[in-house]
């Protein structure tokens, strides 16, 4: 194992270039990578000629390839845009900015061979713009955030002052394409000469394996992963990670207690934002209050929260922070957190607080969570996304209508009629991204059926296993396919169900699988306007079985037959 370096953590001094060439700089249970290999890969990127005058965007899910490219590009003086994903919408956005796309993109730029074999200099200026990250988008469209090497270094140094890393590997469950995974999971290891994990450890099963096989100095995680740990210690190894760190979204208290008990180590929760970097910390099993990191100052000015931090562009100035806090102590700042500052919108000329609406909805029996947003329909009315316990959720037209009427009456006591939500989407839990956030874009997608009347409401994707996906859907009363089918008693035509099933099959499994035909199509019971149903897609060898079922029974059964790799020898079913 590599001895840990006791010098202050640094990115500008490039510790990855110094030390013995056979030092281990990254590993997994099966594989190790040495400093020599890393330097070679960095050197190759640093000497790769890129088109002049254009910025680069890097997306690579593999930590090793990502690290080599990022560091190499830094040494070549580039700032690197880091998109959170490589979805078509994101790629379009990057194209509009005229960026060179490197890594896992459909039409990635293919780097030419390096023009020389020059060794990069072991020094980078702190004012160099290192990365461009994107805001999470939970309160608006994702916006770029520029970070200098000095700012990134300040964050890594603060972590190290508070919780010096023990010997061992830094392993991460969160993507390095986002600020938390980048600084805590990768840059911190590089800046302190600790090895990093060669894989992002997504699944609880593989996490147990990692803990068994390698000594872990820090586990970098976030609420979606920590909320999905097994319930008992069976199968969990005795070897504890040095510390567990969680950030990116609020961690439920139960999940924190569970994680500490299962893994036998201290869990630290970090509060921050993409705009401001890390701000404060607590140990959620013990504390309800937050404490500012030692290089962050906080104060309140009326309702406003003001912040000074070395992670911000002007560290000597006070910046406004979007969350409300209540300050309990000033030096060092200790506080309680009270959520996003309010968003006031105008609906039909009336000002309304979307937080206020959501807050009132949460007081209604059975409502677990609520989010309100304006919808570009019916003159900009409010839409509500309401998470409800499964026994309170509506299953058909009549119960849904009654539920909406009750919710509207409940709100009408405090709000004027025009601001009451007109569009309602009920889910069992909020759909969230890998960081545990319901983004603005994801919230809008729940209302996509308003723009395309051929589609049902796609409400909830729960991934049970890689081989089985379940999606909740609801039949809009104004679905185009219901017109004339039949005038007196509308039911969803079978052809529409098959079409949706094929669309979802393509979307969820189309990258791995192809199908040649469909078989055994049955429509046991009709699906009616207003019905809520679950579409289940299960892979069975090369085939895909699809069902649609509601509390009234099954509405579709079908099977898509896989394309045999060798048609002559394949068995036909």
């Amino acid at each position: 194992m590599t001895p840990s370096c006791h010098a202050a953590p640094s990115l500008t001094r490039c510790p990855w270039l110094s030390g013995a060439v056979n030092d281990i700089v990254a590993l997994s249970g099966q594989q190790v990578r040495t400093r020599g290999e890393l330097i070679q890969a960095i050197r190759s990127w640093a000497n790769t000629p890129l088109p002049a005058g254009r910025d680069v965007a890097l997306y690579d899910s593999d930590p090793w390839r990502f690290t080599a490219a990022l560091l190499g590009l830094w040494h070549a003086g580039h700032r690197v845009w880091l998109p959170g994903d490589n979805l078509p919408e994101t790629v379009n956005h990057l194209h509009q900015r005229d960026l060179i796309l490197l890594g896992e993109f459909p039409q990635a730029w293919v780097p030419p061979p390096p023009v020389s074999d020059m060794m990069p200099e072991p020094g980078l200026p702190p004012e160099q713009e290192a990365v461009v990250l994107f805001t999470s988008g939970s309160s608006g469209e994702p916006a770029p955030i520029f970070r200098t090497l000095g700012q990134l270094e300040a964050e890594v140094a603060a972590f190290e002052r508070h919780w010096p890393l023990a010997q061992g590997v830094v392993i991460s469950q969160v993507s390095h394409q986002h600020t938390w995974g980048l600084t805590a999971g990768l840059l911190r290891a590089l800046a302190t000469s600790h090895p990093f994990g060669l894989e992002i450890v997504t699944w609880p099963e593989t996490l147990a394996e990692w803990l068994m096989n390698v000594p872990v100095s820090a586990l970098i995680s976030s609420p979606p992963q920590l909320s999905r740990l097994p319930e008992s210690t069976t199968g969990m190894p005795d070897r504890a990670p040095g510390r567990i760190f969680s950030a990116a979204a609020p961690l439920p208290h139960d999940a924190a207690v569970q994680a500490e008990a299962l893994m036998g180590s201290e869990l630290i929760e970090i509060y921050g934002s993409s705009e401001s970097g890390a701000i404060a910390w607590r140990r959620p099993c013990q504390d309800t209050t937050w404490q500012a990191l030692d290089d962050v100052m906080l104060r309140c000015d009326g309702e406003r929260t003001l912040l000074r931090s070395r992670r911000l562009p002007e560290p000597e100035q006070w910046h406004e922070q979007a969350d409300h806090i209540q300050l309990l102590d000033e030096h060092p700042a200790r506080f309680t957190l009270h959520g996003r500052a309010d968003r006031i919108v105008k609906v039909a000329g009336k000002r309304v607080s979307l937080e206020g609406l959501a807050h009132h909805l949460k007081a209604f029996p059975g409502v677990l969570d609520a989010r309100c947003l304006t919808i570009d329909h019916s003159g900009g009315r409010v839409g509500a996304i309401v998470a409800m316990s499964s026994d309170c959720i509506a299953h058909d037209h009549d119960t849904r209508r009654a539920l909406i009427s009750d919710l509207r009456q409940h709100l009408a006591r405090a709000f004027e009629p025009v601001v009451l939500p007109r569009f309602w989407r009920f889910v069992q839990r909020f759909p969230v991204n890998a960081q545990g956030k319901l983004t603005r874009a994801m919230a809008r997608h729940l209302f996509d059926d308003l723009d395309d009347r051929r589609q049902p409401r796609w409400l909830d994707l729960e991934s049970s296993t890689p081989d089985q996906q379940r999606i909740t859907l609801e039949i809009p009363e104004r679905l185009a396919a219901l017109e004339g089918h039949f005038p007196e008693r509308p039911i969803v035509p079978g052809i529409a169900l098959i079409h949706w099933a094929r669309q979802q099959a393509e979307r969820l499994f189309g990258e791995q699988d192809q199908w040649r035909d469909m078989r055994r199509v049955r429509f046991p019971a009709p699906l009616l306007p207003g019905d809520r149903a679950v579409m289940t897609l299960s892979r069975q060898r090369g085939d895909l079985n699809i069902t649609v079922a509601s509390h009234r029974g099954q509405h579709l059964q079908m099977r898509l037959l896989g394309v045999d790799p060798m048609p002559d020898h394949g068995e036909s079913s």
Binding site: A348, S378, H397, S405, V418, R422, L450, E477, R478, E488
Partner: protein
Amino acid sequence: MANTSLTELERDVANMIIEALELEDITADDIEPEAPLFGDGLGLDSIDALELGLALQKRYGIRLDSDAEENREHFASLRQLSALVAERRSD
């Protein structure tokens, strides 16, 4: 089940209301012909009234007078609104 108490014209007007206001959870069969469209009944509001005015013009060629009191009467219920359409339609 179809609400048999609606006439053909009432059903047509009901569908116009649903379309114009993009009502999601209501079908023509859910609208009681005598129930108030605004306030407690269907829950429509002042902005919806303006939308309905436009829809009446587009669908049936009816131009509402600016007399608010009279319009309130026309919009009182589905039955009243259908009566207005029957009387003045020019499509």
